[in-house]
């Protein structure tokens, strides 16, 4: 906890005609870009964003003893009454569970007990998966808002929602506070609060996985709206030549087959963008087809295709 607090400070600097505030939250580098008039204003706006990100992290992190997630997960079968914000997040999780036909499930976090995506070949056995699957499934939970009851051993986890939710919450606080255009970026999930005035757009780069130096990243002009990315090239397992993605299917307890390495989606809010990219990931091979049907802008990375030696002499 001491170490966590130690990292909690913001640094503000001028950057290409706008202000940039940096801080760490949710184990990611975070930043606020804004068209503030001066350092003091940039500092104040960055602190608003950072404090909201840290508040949400503390409240919903599954690693922090004593918070609401810990109370629910360690209730040992007893009912736990939750506050309105937590209730809304759970309701949102339920909607996604239904929309995704059970593929998005806030009780699936316990699968991490057996799946450790560290690039190794530590694949769990079918028996291990079956055993953990006894603790997975929203249908086993009794949710009568604001009261949640689930069997001992089961856990809920807002890891799939928290960061995007924090981006949108921070953006909403900034909109109440200022008309200055801000870009909130929490570890790559980001939103713009209002149309920029000093420039036409905010420019955002989308990096391809293992991008070689001679291949440009896609550069995006974002006037208004949000972007979120699912997937991480560094989180996977390889065994006997089969690559296991870190996207787990809560229906089976096994990684989704043929999932892209990463998907970035543009949407009105960061939460929508994040959920669409996550749901697309869960479609595996059908990710692009799913996204096409949603009529959203997206960038799907199925791995960098290395250039071969030039054919020409």
């Amino acid at each position: 906890m001491a170490a966590r607090q130690k990292q909690r400070h913001v640094r503000v600097g001028e950057d290409n005609g706008s202000w940039r505030g940096r801080f760490e939250a949710m184990a990611s580098p975070c930043e606020l870009l804004c068209e503030a008039t001066g350092r003091a204003e940039a500092q104040r706006l960055t602190e608003i964003v950072a404090n909201e990100a840290w508040r949400i992290e503390d409240k919903f992190s599954r690693y922090l003893p004593g918070n609401i997630v810990d109370q629910i997960n360690s209730a040992g079968g007893r009912a736990v009454e939750v506050d309105p914000e937590t209730a809304q997040l759970i309701d949102f999780g339920v909607t996604l569970y239904q929309l995704s036909e059970r593929r998005f499930d806030i009780t699936s976090g316990v699968l991490r007990r057996i799946w450790r995506f560290d690039g190794s070949s530590n694949i769990p056995t079918a028996a291990q998966v079956d055993e953990v699957m006894n603790d997975v499934g929203w249908h086993r939970v009794t949710w009568e808002s604001p009261s949640i009851t689930m069997a001992a051993g089961m856990e809920i986890d807002f890891g799939g929602i928290g960061k995007e939710f924090a981006v949108d919450r921070a953006a909403a606080l900034l909109r109440e506070e200022t008309s200055v255009s801000c870009l909130v970026n929490l570890g790559g999930d980001l939103a713009v609060t209002s149309r920029p005035k000093q420039r036409n757009t905010w420019k955002v780069g989308i990096e391809a996985v293992n991008r070689p130096a001679d291949m440009p990243a896609s550069l995006l002009n974002l006037q208004i709206g949000a972007l979120a990315t699912s997937g991480d090239a560094r989180r996977f397992l390889v065994k006997e030549g089969v690559r296991y993605s870190h996207i787990l299917d809560p229906m089976t307890g096994w990684p989704v087959q043929d999932a892209p390495r990463s998907i970035t989606v543009a949407a009105d809010t960061c939460t929508q963008a994040g959920m669409l990219s996550t749901l697309a990931m869960l479609q595996g091979k059908g990710a692009e087809t799913f996204l096409e049907a949603q009529d959203v802008s997206y960038w799907c990375d199925r791995g960098y295709l290395p250039e071969l030696d030039s054919v020409a002499p």
Binding site: F165, D168, N210, N221, D309, V311, A312
Partner: protein, 449 residues
């Protein structure tokens, strides 16, 4: 709630498509979660920009030999759906002197210039260098790359170049397919080229003697060369840190493959000295020489393998190439690079390359007077037996505006030898194949527009 109504309507309109209704329902649920009104609709467009890779390269050989200043601009435009247009421009300015193939002698040697106009003289004891080497080359390339279905990548392109006495035109295409969850990429490429030579004063006839000024009876008209290249490759992601590539390539060249500026000395079979001649007075060669002649076909096979190993931002890049051809040149190339990050914004990259080749079967240091001419002969040092080492260092950094800059300095040293059975008499006492040293300095700048 207004937002939810709008979203629900959107959902029901699209209700016949259950997947599409997800965005509507999701929008409604998000509004409820965030407790906010309907946000302004997203506006994001991919930057339709160009990516420019520019480089200025200086290559200089010591001892007044070849100097090349080369400007290279490669631009790439990304379109939506992973399509790319690439356009390249290279301008080379070449000056300096190059060995003409004749051996050093104990007396001065005079040669007719390749143009057939005027002569030049090499002092006694020095390697004859033709200093009329001066040219500007302009080369253009264009290529288009696009996905073909979900697993295929297709690219095709064209190239052309022009210099004073040489033009090149080529076409190429490549198809790649991904397998094994995109951990394996298999590709096949083909390139064809048609080149024309039009040396000043005509193209020398192989093994014809060097004549005096203005005598073109040893010359013929324009000549052409056709080249076909085929490449098969496999790229394999071995682990999260290791990427490997294997290529086989085949190259078939036919037509006029001689270097029109290279000659061989005609020497005495006992002393090894060039045979003097007075046939041309002051207006031609002072000793006997003939133009080189190579076979009119050449088939090369090469195998290439490369491994790139990533370790916390450091990259080790090792490659090896084996090439063999029907001129009996075998070569091996080992190339090592190590990218070593310094902070977030810069890196150092040491580079080491070793190259070795055997001589062509028709490589001859000289031809003996009075003996029948062989079918083919060349004294071009590039077809001889030599080793070469390149060692250098590159420093790259990101500029304040996020562009990439780098500077590279490399030293090149080539040392060759003539097979001892080809050396006769006094030739054994002379340095017929001096070492070649060169320096390479390159500035690169990569930016987007």
């Amino acid at each position: 709630m207004v937002a939810a109504d709008v979203a629900a309507t959107k959902g029901s309109i699209m209700g016949n498509n259950s997947k599409l209704s997800i965005s509507g329902a999701l929008a409604a649920a998000t509004c409820t979660l965030l407790g906010s009104g309907l946000p302004e609709p997203v506006q994001a467009q991919e930057e339709p920009g160009w990516d420019f890779n520019t480089a200025l390269l200086y290559y200089g050989e010591d001892g007044d030999r070849v100097q090349d200043l080369s400007l290279n601009i490669l631009s790439r435009r990304a379109f939506i759906d992973d399509k790319f247009l690439s356009l390249g421009l290279t301008v080379d300015a070449l000056t300096g002197a190059s060995p003409n193939g004749a051996l050093p002698q104990s007396s001065a040697q005079t040669f007719t210039r390749p143009s057939g106009e005027k002569t030049y003289t090499t002092p006694a004891g020095e390697l004859p260098l033709d200093d009329s080497f001066r040219d500007t080359r302009v080369a253009l390339t264009a290529s288009w790359q696009q996905p073909l279905g979900r697993l295929y990548q297709l690219s095709f392109g064209a190239s052309a170049s022009a210099e004073y006495d040489y033009t090149h035109a080529g076409l190429n295409a490549k198809l790649a397919r991904d397998f094994n969850q995109r951990n394996t990429t298999v590709s096949a490429g083909i390139a064809v080229a048609h080149d024309s030579l039009d040396p000043v004063g005509g193209t020398p006839i192989g093994l014809a003697p060097m004549l005096g000024e203005e005598d073109t009876s040893n010359r013929m008209g324009d000549q052409t060369k056709d080249v076909l290249d085929i490449v098969f490759g496999v790229t394999q992601v071995m682990s999260r840190n290791l990427l490997m590539q294997f290529n086989y390539s085949y190259s078939d060249a036919s037509g006029y493959l001689n270097d029109p500026y290279k000659i061989l000395s005609i020497v005495d079979g006992v002393t090894g000295d060039a045979i003097p001649t007075n046939d041309f007075g002051d207006d031609g060669p002072s000793q006997l020489n003939v133009f080189e002649k190579r076979p009119d076909t050449r088939v090369k096979h090469s195998l290439f393998t490369q491994a790139k190993y990533y370790m916390n931002g450091k990259v080790l890049d090792v490659s090896y190439r084996y090439m063999t051809d029907d001129w009996e040149i075998d070569s091996h190339t080992v190339d090592l690079r190590y990218r070593w990050p310094i902070g977030d914004r810069s890196y150092l990259e040491p580079h080491f390359r070793f190259y070795t080749q055997t001589e062509a079967e028709f490589y001859r240091a000289s031809l003996i007077d009075g003996q029948p001419l062989p079918e083919y002969a060349s004294a071009d040092y590039r077809l001889g037996n030599f080793d070469a080492i390149t060692a250098g260092l590159k420093y790259g950094w990101k500029t304040g505006s996020g562009n990439d800059m780098s500077v590279r300095l490399e030293l090149y040293q080539q040392s060759g030898s003539i097979p001892s059975e080809q050396l006769i008499g006094n030739q054994l006492d002379r340095d017929n194949y001096p070492d070649l040293n060169a320096v390479i300095l390159q500035f690169s700048y990569r930016f987007g527009l």
